[in-house]
Structure formats: structure tokens, C-alpha cells
Symmetry: C2
Subunit: 414 residues, 2 copies
């Protein structure tokens, strides 16, 4: 595990310029990005990613869920490739680095290998997974779960966004926009997967450290809770006679706050989305639906709290009907110790302060860990803020992460 | 107050057919209607109303808020007219009778006078007030409050619907669609106003009575509560560090439930609309806004509970900023006893079971009562259900209300 010359050819300015260029697709006030999965903005980002790869002669591939791969050949074309990357879609009020950094750092690493004149035994590929965020189309991480075979695209056939636009139609549009990407099946052998990402938490930033050698991800479970009552006139219907879905939702959330209470403040419980019908001031609501995002490092805690959600909601629903469905389940995962060691080693060899740490956010790497040896590289983001226009990272830290990534890829690709 | 021949010429079938024709504009499944104020559907309804009047030679008039008037001349063209009518806009999941009945019953009464060969001293006009519901554009009852001078159209210059469409642009489109309606100022003298309406409550239906001689309306106050926090990552942000607008809204609503508690179940408290941003599962909400619809027959109760809303919300908002604004205030009103007596008299003279009663819902008549002698005529609706696709009324009851209305109008117009 000597350090190669690859890291010396990482170009900080090029990497920064590409972040700025990508940020134009879906730019929102405050330096933010709104690049919903498979939107026109996402398609522009995907075309740009493929065009940048084409300048280096990297062939583009795709699959039936729209994952995009750029391939730098190895000496052994039959060898299972080393894979790196992340996602190009964003939150509705997201930043310029979440996901995008992992894709651009992967491309930068490949270009650094080119410029250093390094040939590897195995091919190296950079992936942009489809719809990691899950904010436009639920669930998230569609691309990686389809790739590893946990779900099939047919499972998402009925998914629509909030405006009623079908996922399948938007996927077809995105695929048609990149005819130069060669179709491939899912689940081909991957030698190893390494995902670079901003931390999205405050640990590295607060401690002034540059590299996180990520050894695990806490588990996550998503639920959808739907209350159905009856709409009626706000002026004439006595409160005792109502089946008010908003009031039922409020009681459910209050009950869930009790269920999810954690004095140690390790458990993460979020109701991020609420949808009400007919949603007008003077009609009692007939329907109220909300999402639950529950996370914890311990599978036993996720199981114990998660299995009580339906019971708590039923007890709180009063005269309304309640339906609880689980829309995503990602168990806590531990990454491959060998790759985590390499991340730590190369960071130290490059003189970068490094910490072994867990991830609070989930990532496509959480699913890939069950499919092939996997790890992640974190870099700091300002005050730990993410999923927010104010998300920020420095050009130096972005380049430092790409340097470590380049060295780890050379190591893994031989 | 002898009963004239007018009521005998009310045509039950014509009145029913016109309800069916109007229900086509914005028809939704389950026999319902979604005819948002100033939408394309509302404009179609307005054109149809004017066209039906034109068949009888009734001139059409409008004003700067888009109220529509059809005029049946009197012997004295300078006399202040008697006015009847209601509104053609609906709730998003509304029925075929709320508002529409009052407009069509007014038109039916005028046609009955024509067919009976009755000439009146005063002109009689039928009005369709603009945006009574307030479900697309807030506040409701824009047309009547502008007519009486309580608000000016300039007060609504910044109003937009949930999709961001400006009220002013939609108003201009609606006015342009009816060039044959002659512009008029607001606030011209009105001799009396009588509004026919379905009860929207269960009293007449449950008792098998046909006519409500409405003597009062409970008061209503609308508020908008807005919580502003900070969006952040659902997986990484400790709960103690969050400024979660959804959780703040839940605490506010729970606190307001306590404030509004009424063991007698006379007070009406409704949170009908909730809007969350960015409204995705894995981001803490930065903004949550909700509406309050508060009603009570006693002005003192409305004042006492209403003035504590901001204090309760501030106490519940935690780390979020809170803003409370009042968007509508309609004091409890008592109608003109002389007109209520005439409604009761003519119902009895026609052999219709009648009850003096208050209105739980508010209506444009609540504002008109402060401007000219005013009353309302209620007819039963099935199980008291309104603001719901299942809203229903019988052809016999619709015609009965129109017969009473025709007699009252003849009485008032001389």
C-alpha cells in the first residue's frame, strides 16, 4: 500500500469548477440546488457527466433503472471493476455537494490516473445512482437497490411524484436523453465500491479533521402513515361529530414523539412531509398523510420502535381509519475493514487528519455493502449543515477527499 | 302580505335541470363539484348564468371584484332594487348546491314573476358574489366585503393561490370573458337582500322541516399561523439541535385544542389546511403553516379565545419563529326581523313546515346585514352534509325554497 503518484494529479481547480457547473442545473437562491430525480435539471446533469467522461474516452453505460456508469479500462477487460460514485439528484432545497461530490470526485480520480500515466489491472468505473434522495419519487436509493437485486424496477411501476407524474415516464425520458449510454444488466460482479461524500454532520468540521474513514452506517426505516376521516363543513359540524384527519395526525405524531423518546438523543425521528386533503380552511380534512424517517445504529432499537408505530397510530386515530406502511428499510451496516484501513492509511500517508467514524446519513453504499466489499470517504461540510441551501465545503477539502479516493482506487484496482 | 301567484310559477323541473347543468362545470367523481373561484370552470358557470338571464332579457352588470348581477326591471327604474343571490364558486371537494342554489333560486324566482305576469315597483336583481368560499384565494367573501366597502380590491392585490397564480390576473380573465356585463361601482343602494341556501347542517333534515327562516349567523374568525425553523438532514441532526417546523405546528395545534375546548360543543375550531416546506421525508421541515377557522354565536367568546391564539402559539413554538395573522373576521349578526317574519309568513301560507333558526355557516348575507335589511332562507340538505361530494338536496325542497323566495321578493319589491 505505497502511495502512488495519482493523488498528485488531482486538480483542485478543475474539481471546484465542475461543482460550480453542476450547481447551475437546478440552481436556487442562496447557492442551493433543486435537482429532483429524473427532472429536466437532473437530465442536464447526467448529460454533462457523460460528456465530461467522453472527453477522456470513458464509455458510458446505463441500466433499466437509469444508473449511469463511466468506464476507465483496465489491463484485464474481463476483471470485475472497482466502482466509485454517488448520485446527482438533490433535495428540493439542497446544496451543491450532497451526492454530486461523490460523482465528481470519482471522475476527478480517474482523470488523475490518466494524467499520472497509471494503468490498473482492473477497470475502474464511476457511477451516478438513480434517485438516491427519494424526495420526488419514493422510496430513495432506487438505483442501488435495483442494481443489487433487492427490488426490481417493476416494484416502482406505480410510483408517481406529488404532481402525479409517473416515475416510469420520467425514467424513459431520462434514458432517451442519453442514447450513447450502452444498456447493461443489473448485478454484474463488482470488485469493490467506494463512495466519497460530505459528512452531512458536524464531527469533522468541529474537530478540524479532513478525512472520515467511514466504518458503518446507522440503519433507517421509512414509514407512511395515512389517516382517513370525512370532510364536512367547519361552521356547522360539531367537534364531537367530526372525523377530522388533521386532528388524528396531530394525535399520532404526539404519540410517536413519546414512542421515539431517547434521552441519549441518538435516535433520529423525523416527520418531514405532511399532505392534507382537501386542504382548505373551512372544510374538515378527509385525509392526512405523513412520513416517518427513523434511524438508529442498533438494529434491535429500529425493530423494537418500528414495530410499535402502527399500534401507537391506531390508538391515536380516534374515529379515523389509519394505514401504516413501511416504504424503506436499511439495516445498520458495517463496511469492509480492509477498505476502511486503506482509506485511513492513504489519508495518513498524504498527511491528512483522519478519523474512523460512523455515518448518520444513509447512502447507496449502505446497500452496496451487502453486495461487495464497500466503504466510504467523508470530508467536512460547514457546520455539518446539509439538505439546505447553506450546505458548503472548501475546495481544499474536496480535493483532499479526491486524493485519498484516487489512491484507494489504485490500490483496489491493482 | 297576501301570497301572490308567483310561487305557483316556480318550475321544479327547470330548477333541477339547471342545477345539473351547473354541476357539469367542475364535476368530480361522486356527484361533486370542484369549481374554484375564477377558474376556467367558474368562468363557464358565470357565462352560463348570464346567458340564461339574457334569454329573459335581464341585463348583466359587474363590478371591479367581478360580482355579477342580472336585473329584472321595476316600474320605478330609480328605486333601490331588491337583491337576492349567493355564489357560484365551490369547495375543492364540494357539492352541487352550496351557493349555486341561491343563485339559481333567485333566477327561478324572477322567471316565475315573468311567467305569472307580475310587475314590481322596484327592480329585482340576482347576484353571484365573487369568491365566497375562500378555498382557492384567501380570504373568502371577497365579493360582498368589497361591495359594502369593508375591503377594497387593492387589499387583495398580492393574493395568490397555492400554485402561485395571482388573484388579480384571474379576476381580469374572468371580467374579460363577460364583455356584455356593464361595469358598475360598489355600494349602490340596496333596498333589501335575501339569500337562499342549503342549511349545511342537520336541523331541518333531521326534523323533516322544509324552510328555515334564518334570523342570525354565528361569528367567524380565520387565522393563519406560520412556523419558521431550519431545514436539516433527518439522519444526522440530533433532535435537540433541530428547529423543526412540523413539530412546532403539532405543539401549537395541541395547545390550541386546549384553548378552544368547549364542553358544550358549540364552539367550532378547525385546522383545515396545513402546508409544509420542503415537505420531503428526510429533511427537517423549515416551514409549516396552518389555518384556523373559529366560530361561535357570541362575540365575547370569539374575542376572548381569538386574542389568546398568538400567545398559545408562541408558547408552543420552541426554537421556531411564529407569526399569527387574522385573515377574516365576521362578527355574529342578527338579520332583519321584518324580512325573517315575511319568510316565516310565506312558508306558512304555502303550507311548508318552517323554523326560525340561526346559521352555523357564514354567508355573504352576514356582511350584507350591516349594509341593508337582510335575511336568509334555508332548505334541508341530506344528513346535513356539505363541503363534501355527498352533499344532496331534493328537487321538491329546492322548489319549495324558490317559492318562498319568490313571494318574499314580490313583497319587498312592491
Amino acid at each position: 500500500m505505497a502511495t502512488s503518484r495519482a493523488s498528485a494529479f488531482v486538480d483542485k481547480d478543475r474539481l471546484w469548477r465542475r461543482h460550480a457547473a453542476m450547481a447551475a442545473f437546478g440552481a436556487i437562491p442562496g447557492n442551493g440546488v433543486n435537482r429532483a430525480a429524473l427532472s429536466a435539471e437532473d437530465i442536464e446533469a447526467r448529460r454533462t457527466f457523460v460528456a465530461w467522461g467522453a472527453e477522456r474516452g470513458y464509455a458510458a453505460f446505463t441500466d433499466a433503472i437509469g444508473n449511469l456508469f463511466l468506464r476507465r479500462p483496465g489491463r484485464d477487460p474481463a476483471a470485475a471493476p472497482v466502482l466509485t460514485g454517488s448520485h446527482l439528484d438533490s433535495q428540493p432545497r439542497g446544496g451543491r455537494f450532497d451526492g454530486t461530490y461523490g460523482v465528481l470526485a470519482g471522475l476527478e480520480a480517474l482523470e488523475a490516473l490518466d494524467d499520472a500515466g497509471i494503468a490498473t489491472e482492473r477497470p475502474i468505473e464511476v457511477v451516478s445512482w438513480t434517485n438516491e434522495e427519494g424526495s420526488r419519487f419514493q422510496p430513495g436509493t432506487m438505483g442501488s437497490v435495483a442494481f443489487i437485486g433487492l427490488r426490481s424496477p417493476a416494484d416502482f411501476a406505480d410510483v408517481r411524484d406529488a404532481a402525479g407524474v409517473p416515475f416510469t415516464a420520467e425514467l424513459a425520458r431520462a434514458l432517451a436523453a442519453l442514447p450513447q449510454a450502452t444498456p447493461r444488466p443489473f448485478g454484474w460482479p463488482v470488485h469493490a465500491f467506494v463512495e466519497a461524500h460530505i459528512e452531512q454532520g458536524p464531527v469533522l468540521y468541529d474537530r478540524g479533521e479532513t478525512i472520515g474513514a467511514v466504518d458503518s452506517i446507522q440503519g433507517a426505516r421509512w414509514f407512511q402513515v395515512e389517516l382517513r376521516g370525512e370532510t364536512s363543513h367547519a361552521g356547522t359540524t360539531p367537534l364531537a361529530a367530526r372525523r377530522d384527519a388533521v386532528q388524528a395526525a396531530v394525535r399520532c405524531i404526539a404519540g410517536l414523539n413519546d414512542l421515539m423518546h431517547d434521552p441519549a438523543d441518538v435516535l433520529r425521528f423525523t416527520v418531514g412531509r405532511v399532505d392534507v386533503e382537501p386542504n382548505v380552511p373551512n372544510s374538515v380534512a378527509s385525509r392526512a398523510a405523513f412520513t416517518i424517517d427513523l434511524r438508529h445504529p442498533e438494529a434491535t432499537v429500529l425493530a423494537a420502535r418500528g414495530e410499535r408505530i402502527a399500534e401507537v397510530c391506531r390508538a391515536a386515530a380516534g374515529a379515523c381509519a389509519v394505514a401504516v406502511s413501511e416504504t424503506l428499510s436499511m439495516p445498520p451496516c458495517r463496511f469492509d475493514a480492509g477498505i476502511v484501513d486503506r482509506v485511513e492509511h492513504h489519508a495518513q500517508a498524504l498527511g491528512l487528519p483522519v478519523r474512523r467514524m460512523p455515518s448518520g446519513a444513509f447512502h447507496d453504499a449502505g446497500y452496496m455493502a451487502g453486495f461487495c466489499p464497500t466503504a466510504m470517504i467523508f470530508i467536512p461540510c460547514e457546520r455539518g449543515i446539509s439538505h439546505n441551501e447553506a450546505e458548503n465545503a472548501t475546495p481544499d477539502d474536496l480535493a483532499a477527499g479526491a486524493r485519498v479516493l484516487a489512491e484507494v482506487l489504485v490500490d483496489l484496482a491493482g
